[in-house]
């Protein structure tokens, strides 16, 4: 049953989740706390923690789908899928830190693998959630293809818990590639990086992941597939772009660091920015103006990460941006607002039980 510690609600089942939501006028849902800025820093909220709402509900490898409770650590899911030779191809982030499935959906975070087959939004199939009136609702489906009803599961991706409390989530999964090879490609500046992104992205190679470190002056390209094929493709890539194949251990350490956002400051402010490769030069100029700032470029130049040390001043960002930790505003870049957004909030949460989009 729901336990209450330090005014935190800890439901252990979907039914208890609905009861918990109904039990307080204002609710903020939290998971493992790996992205603390997503929960509002002010306001009189009762915290609802999903850490006891965990477990894989259904997993049938032959269907390429699984369903798990929102508080399930992604680590558990990755392990269960791995046993059957499958994975979430978008490489969820902060897995080792304990990120939950629900928190990953709410934050809308995808890792390096989003480059090839798409991000989290492209693999979510269905949700059960509690709306602001306390109703338990199921949207989307449990099969890999479904076009019935509005696509609320996608809407919840990146919605930071502002429109409902996620209870259970269904995902599509893929077979895990047989092998991978990681190449380090030299890029003297971000313009060179953008060129590599364009060349690699438009090639026959079907690159699996394409990340870059401006500080290291390197682009990291991951190939995935049958080993004998990757040998040939890797040689061809290196014939066109100067670089080297990473040793297996080195590659594993790299992707672990990327997945843990290990390149960022331990404390400080961490911001995810959505942009295009052509906007990267502008981004790096901006970041260079902040003393101690660190950056990382993901998904072939469509994501920029900015990590600032404590006390640094946040520059004005001209792109949509989300703060994951630190005290910067939640939406710290451009955030167009339309009247209909308020209407949708009212439709799902008429009493404003969950935090407002800009709260």
């Amino acid at each position: 049953m729901t336990t209450k510690t330090e005014a935190t609600l800890n439901p252990t089942s979907i039914g208890e989740l609905a009861d918990a939501v109904r039990s307080a006028p204002r609710i903020v849902v939290t998971g493992a706390g790996t992205k603390p800025r997503l929960a509002p820093t002010s306001g009189n909220f009762t915290r609802l923690c999903t850490s006891q709402l965990r477990g894989i509900v259904e997993y049938d490898p032959s269907e390429f789908t699984f369903t798990a409770l929102a508080g399930t650590p992604v680590r558990d899911i990755v392990a269960a899928l791995g046993e059957k030779g499958q994975n979430l191809p978008f490489d969820p982030l902060l897995v080792e830190a304990g990120a939950t499935l629900g928190g990953t959906v709410s934050a809308g975070l995808s890792g390096p693998g989003r480059f090839r087959f798409g991000g989290l939004r492209d693999f979510i199939l269905g949700v059960r959630f509690v709306d602001g009136t306390g109703r338990l609702l199921r949207m989307g489906g449990k099969v890999v293809k479904n076009a019935a009803g509005f696509d609320l599961p996608k809407f919840f991706v990146g919605s930071v818990g502002r429109f409902g409390a996620l209870g259970e989530i269904t995902f599509k999964v893929f077979p895990r590639p047989l092998t991978t090879r990681t190449l380090r490609l030299a890029a003297k500046d971000v313009t060179a990086m953008a060129e590599i992104f364009a060349t690699a992205g438009n090639s026959r190679w079907e690159i699996d992941a394409l990340e870059a470190s401006p500080a290291e002056g390197q682009v990291y390209a991951r190939l995935a597939g049958p080993g004998e094929a990757l040998e040939v493709i890797a040689r061809e890539v290196l014939g066109r772009l100067p670089g080297a194949v990473l040793a297996d251990a080195e590659a594993a350490a790299l992707w672990r660091r990327v997945g843990n956002l290990g390149w960022a400051h331990d404390g400080g402010t961490l911001i995810k920015i959505a942009l295009t490769p052509s906007e990267l030069p502008g981004f790096t100029v901006l970041a260079a103006g902040v003393s101690g700032a660190r950056t990382w470029i993901g998904a072939g130049g469509n994501v920029a990460w900015l990590s600032l040390p404590d006390g640094a001043t946040l520059p004005a960002l001209r792109w949509p941006a989300l703060t994951l930790r630190g005290s910067a505003p939640l939406w710290c870049g451009t955030a167009p607002r339309f009247e209909v957004m308020r209407g949708v909030k009212t439709a799902l949460d008429p009493q404003n039980r969950f935090p407002g989009l800009d709260e």
Partner: protein
């Protein structure tokens, strides 16, 4: 126009566009009475033909001010009656908003207006070695605006997803007249996925004016195999073995005996004799990857006890395999005066059971039923054959269709994999969703369209049904331009 106030509304509407782009004559309107779901006919009171985004915005704002229902329409290929006109409403056709306003080969995106034809995007991208992945069978005629409204699928959904997975952002005029811009040019987004919510709204939220889609590099190599089996079970087992092997083919399709008979009659497709089912599997990717995967696939197929396997030896043979597959639907029209096609989804592991039930029911009800389906994702396409000139046959066919849809729900699947709910399946929504869930969707709809003027009568169960009449082939179907899947 019976009532004077409606006439006055029409007169004001006529003032918004040049006379040549405002139609209200019965002969002009007749062409818009139906879409790909030919059983339904409703005559709109007028059809307007905007040429610019500004004109669309002006028209929608007019409809909002006048509480005038409107239906946006592209090429009218919806198989669920998604662009069926509304009594007392107008049709806004978007075919002239057909500009590709941006194509950036470096970023691999295109920005298109809603009236752009699906294949025109791929054609424009082809010189750069890129393609637009979603490929509904009507792709040579259907529009991106319609694809966005109904989140259209195609034969490659297991690997590449549906339309929604390829839309990065859009500009739309909502039914309230508000103009919104969701998402953008980046492949990644920040904040709630408003773009994802809009795609698949079935025209109930408003009209997309400009759509940003991602383009993918065209696969370097394809390997397409056709394998014939004595029984459907064997074909199904082969699919299970492929899926279990860890291969991720771009397409896995199955055609049953009746579909094979139809394709043979229509396009002289040649299949191994004595087969109850034919499996088509396509691998794609860099040549080295395809070669390595092909060795694994060959071993799986060899062990699956086929009558015969026929790998396509060149691009032409590949096209022939797909031509037979894609013609199956219109080909069935040669076997029967009329047919209904459904697109329910079942968990892949229950495909065999689903097909057995469909077979039993159709024998029991005295109807023939051909099956062509996307086996990789459990998306059925039963084609129920009947003769509409015989009294009671249409009703019987609808009854079988209903049993199949309810079976899909009972098995944990969906009533629609890619055609959308539209008018056709709206009465089955309460079987798939609870009253609370439907209420939630209605509240969402009200946020976008409080007056219920945008494509009313679709998706949600209604009291009054439009006249159900005799099914027949769509004129374009007869011409072999489109097919129902």
């Amino acid at each position: 126009m019976e009532n004077p106030s409606a006439s006055a509304v029409l007169a004001r509407l006529a003032g918004l566009l040049p006379a040549s782009r405002f139609m209200k004559g019965p002969a002009q309107l007749a062409a818009y009475e139906s879409d790909g779901l030919t059983a339904f006919h409703v005559r709109p009171i007028a059809v307007v033909v905007p040429e610019t985004q500004e004109e669309v915005i002006k028209l929608v704002r007019f409809c909002h001010a006048e509480k005038l229902p409107f239906v946006a329409r592209g090429s009218g290929t919806s198989l669920s009656g998604g662009s069926l006109p509304v009594h007392g409403g107008i049709v806004i056709t978007l075919n002239r908003l057909n500009r590709i306003t941006k194509l950036d080969p470096k970023q691999r995106i295109a920005v298109v207006e809603p009236g752009v034809i699906n294949t025109h995007v791929t054609n424009a991208a082809a010189p750069y070695g890129l393609l637009y992945a979603p490929d509904p069978s009507s792709q040579t005629i259907c529009t991106i605006g319609g694809n966005v409204a109904f989140n259209s699928g195609g034969a490659h959904c297991l690997k590449y997803g549906m339309t929604s997975n390829h839309v990065l952002g859009l500009k739309a005029v909502l039914a309230t007249g508000e103009v919104v811009e969701f998402g953008g040019l980046s492949r990644e987004q920040i904040g709630p996925d408003w773009t994802g919510l809009f795609v698949g709204n079935e025209g109930l939220f408003g009209i997309a004016l400009e759509i940003t889609v991602q383009l993918l590099p065209k696969p370097e190599k394809f390997h397409t195999v056709l394998a014939g089996y004595r029984t459907q079970e064997q074909a199904g087992d082969a699919v299970s073995a492929i899926v279990a092997s860890g291969l991720l083919p771009g397409a896995i399709e199955i055609m049953d005996a009746l579909a094979l008979e139809a394709a043979t009659a229509a396009v002289h497709a040649d299949y191994p004799p004595g087969c109850e089912a034919v499996l088509i599997v396509e691998l794609e990717g860099p040549r080295e990857v395809v070669e390595a995967d092909r060795i694994r696939l060959d071993a799986i197929l060899a062990a699956s006890n086929p009558v015969e396997t026929r790998p396509a030896k060149d691009a032409n043979e590949r096209l022939l395999i797909w031509k037979g597959r894609k013609s199956a639907f219109s080909a069935v029209g040669r076997l029967s005066p009329d047919f209904i096609v459904q697109d329910g989804v079942v968990p892949r592991a229950r495909l065999g059971e689903a097909l057995r039930k469909i077979g039993e029911w159709s024998r029991e009800m005295g109807l023939r039923c051909a099956n062509v389906f996307h086996a990789g994702d459990g998306n059925l396409h039963p084609l129920i054959l009947y003769n509409g000139t015989q009294p009671g046959q249409l009703e019987l066919a609808e009854k079988l269709a209903g049993r199949i849809l309810r079976m899909c729900i009972e098995m944990g699947g969906s009533i629609t994999g890619e055609h959308g709910v539209g008018v056709e399946k709206r009465d089955y929504m309460p079987d798939m969703f609870t009253a609370d869930e439907l209420d939630c969707m209605k509240r969402l709809r009200a946020a976008f369209d409080p007056l219920e003027i945008a494509n009313p009568g679709k998706m949600f169960p209604q009291a009054g049904a439009p006249a159900l009449t005799q099914h027949g082939l769509h004129p374009l179907e007869k011409a072999g331009v489109i097919s129902r899947e």
